[in-house]
Symmetry: C2
């Protein structure tokens, strides 16, 4: 068994769309917004997003700011943008980065084909960066293609795992209440220390929440709050919801979020992020074989064994000769893993064909391809072979690319 050769230009990383791309979801999203309180009828709510990404990530213990740390060779922020882009109803996404990271960010946008992104230069604190992002969206900005949205989402660049659902919830709640934010139960009890470093009092855990992201605001509310905001708040504040409360008397609606809203903060969070992405990418396996008619074809047998042995993994087979028209369809359904079982042509012509088709598609980044060339060997220990294949796909270890594995 051999894992297909992958050149340096095709890293082991997800392509532009991990989930179903815009199109099918759009209508549903807008109508959900309408149903849940946004204006009814045909007018679409104008929504933009601001992602502060100017932090230096000092808690990570690595020199690279955490939003630019690679996860499976792809910068963390690119996953966050990808998740944000899935919500087609967000018109503009403002990413706020420091001047020194501006060029790196432009390259990320180009490389991973991010759309609807505008870059704005960061301030020295988080609140100043968000304010800069909001200014870019405000009316009357010279030479700007951006227009003022009705609702603005604020989200961290280092929270890549949210679902579109939570965006819809906070936007809908912000439209109704003026401000809204995702919250989670506290993991640890929160305590207040006295000046001498001893316990002053502890807070009742059940009566408090961790304020997470995304948050959303009526644009006029949060922009007004930032314009009124004191220098002290701009320097030391941590909570946008608090600014809306303090300066505009808006009590934000709190929306219970799922555990996947968590913020990548420490090195262990990068490990967790990598494992989650690996798991997501491994969920669907497509077996490509040179014929589909023969029911006894080793590809069909392998499909059966993989289905039985591996829980939660969707396996299906595909005849390569028919794949030309279907290859985009495969991608659209989030398949990043191909097992080529070559019975007729052990010289890898079939595999080359698949790779070319993937490269020609709009989904430019190629994922794991496992090539099975020795039908006889696989036949002999199908279960063992299936486990090895699953391990290769799951681990996505670049060191094992091009290796001949003999079970």
């Amino acid at each position: 068994m051999e894992q297909g050769q992958r050149s340096g230009s095709r890293p082991a990383e997800p392509g532009p769309c991990l989930s179903s791309p815009c199109g099918a979801d759009q209508a549903a999203s807008v109508s959900l917004l309408s149903a849940a309180g946004a204006e009814p009828g045909s007018r679409t709510l104008a929504v933009a997003a601001v992602l502060p990404a100017g932090g230096c990530g000092e808690r990570m213990g690595v020199p690279t700011p955490k939003q630019f740390c690679p996860v499976l060779e792809r910068p963390l922020i690119s996953y966050t943008l990808q998740a944000m882009e899935r919500a087609c109803w967000i018109k503009d996404i403002i990413v706020v980065v420091t001047g020194e990271n501006m060029e790196a960010m432009e390259n990320i946008i180009k490389k991973y084909k991010h759309k609807r992104i505008s870059l704005v230069e960061a301030g020295v604190t988080r609140h100043r960066s968000i304010f800069n992002g909001l200014k870019a969206l405000a009316d009357n900005q010279p030479n700007s293609r951006l227009s003022k949205p009705e609702v603005v989402i604020i989200h961290d660049a280092v929270r890549p795992f949210f679902e579109e659902d939570i965006l819809l919830k906070v936007v809908t709640a912000a439209k109704e209440h003026g401000a809204a934010g995702a919250v989670r139960p506290l993991v640890s009890t929160v305590i207040s220390p006295s000046a001498d470093g001893c316990l002053d009092h502890s807070l009742e855990r059940a009566r408090h929440r961790a304020s997470e992201m995304p948050q959303a605001f009526l644009f006029d509310v949060i922009y007004e709050a930032y314009q009124q905001c004191s220098d002290y708040d701009l320097e030391f504040g941590t909570e946008c919801l608090q600014l809306a409360l303090k300066y505009c008397h808006i009590k934000a609606k709190l929306v219970e979020g799922s555990p996947d809203l968590w913020k990548v903060t420490y090195k262990r969070d990068l490990y967790a992020a990598e494992s989650i992405i690996k798991e997501r990418l491994s969920q669907e396996i497509c077996i490509v074989m040179d014929t589909k008619e023969n029911k006894e074809h080793i590809g069909h047998l392998l499909e059966e064994v993989l289905k039985t042995e591996l829980n939660h993994i969707h396996v299906r087979s595909q005849s390569l000769y028919n794949a030309g028209s279907d290859i985009q369809h495969i991608n659209l359904e989030q398949c990043y893993n191909f097992i080529c079982v070559n019975v007729k042509e052990p010289d890898f012509q079939e595999t080359q064909k698949l790779m070319s088709m993937l490269e020609e598609s709009n989904f430019s980044i190629l994922y794991s391809i496992v090539v099975v060339s020795d039908e006889q060997k696989l036949q002999e220990s199908l279960r063992q072979g299936a486990i090895i294949i699953a391990a290769l796909i799951k681990e996505r270890n670049s060191a094992l690319i091009g290796q001949l594995l003999v079970a």
Copy 2:
């Protein structure tokens, strides 16, 4: 290249000691305790630990309670006990488990050779479980081999990555102040919701701390607190430090801890734990070769390449013919990875010898062994070979055991 066969009885898991075992550290620990405020002179401070492990882990989203979830095939709680055991000056370790998990816990203790452990049955809440643990340590317990300690540590079964240093710090502070606990900066801003689910106010992040574990108490203080404790506190309380404050007027000393005190709470935390353990286990590689005299031996060349290519990994070589007396020494210094380079005997007799020696040692669980049998091939692409070897050791993927890899 081939990864050594490993039978089912030798799982890919760390042995009884990840770090240096007790002995050398003991004197240092006790004298540090003395210097830092414990009683001077020769008398040793009597310290015990209570680990509540009766939780059901509902936040994990898996049916197994999180403390029993396998990480590299070994239950999480076993790593925590291992870390606790490194502090030789802790006399007794009380693990509090539910009746239904009692037998499973006994098996874990036996399998991983845990020492100084006593099991106590859990109550229905965390505080009731801790109270049960303390009762077992209190005086006058019939048929108990346990004796009342001066200081008791309370630690979570699901925080496996603490260092001995933080135990010493909280014990020392508890001896002086009556109570002490590790704290960490807040990751998210904490907010207080109003009854209608809106923001009431947000807490200033810099003026609050997350209360973590370990904590330590003068035994008489915390035992008194639990005896006085209301049913409401036993049912709904979350914070031991608060009980000491409320019932004994002891203001606990707060000790700033490191990021590795974090609690395994969600599934992503298990992923992070696995990656951290893999990384720790991969830090030291021992190349075992059939001769050490020949400076041109492929093993020496491999050692050089591994040292250059892999940062933070300690590589050294060892002649197998001399290894008999040294094998325990290797283990004591935390080596879990062996690369056997067989030049003279390609029939794996050498490897078998190493495996037998490891099995006969007290460190009964065998780790990754990579067998290099084709000197010629390795010679040809030494760098590529080194990268593959490092990947095999790092991933510890059981599916790749027994595979022939051809670079």
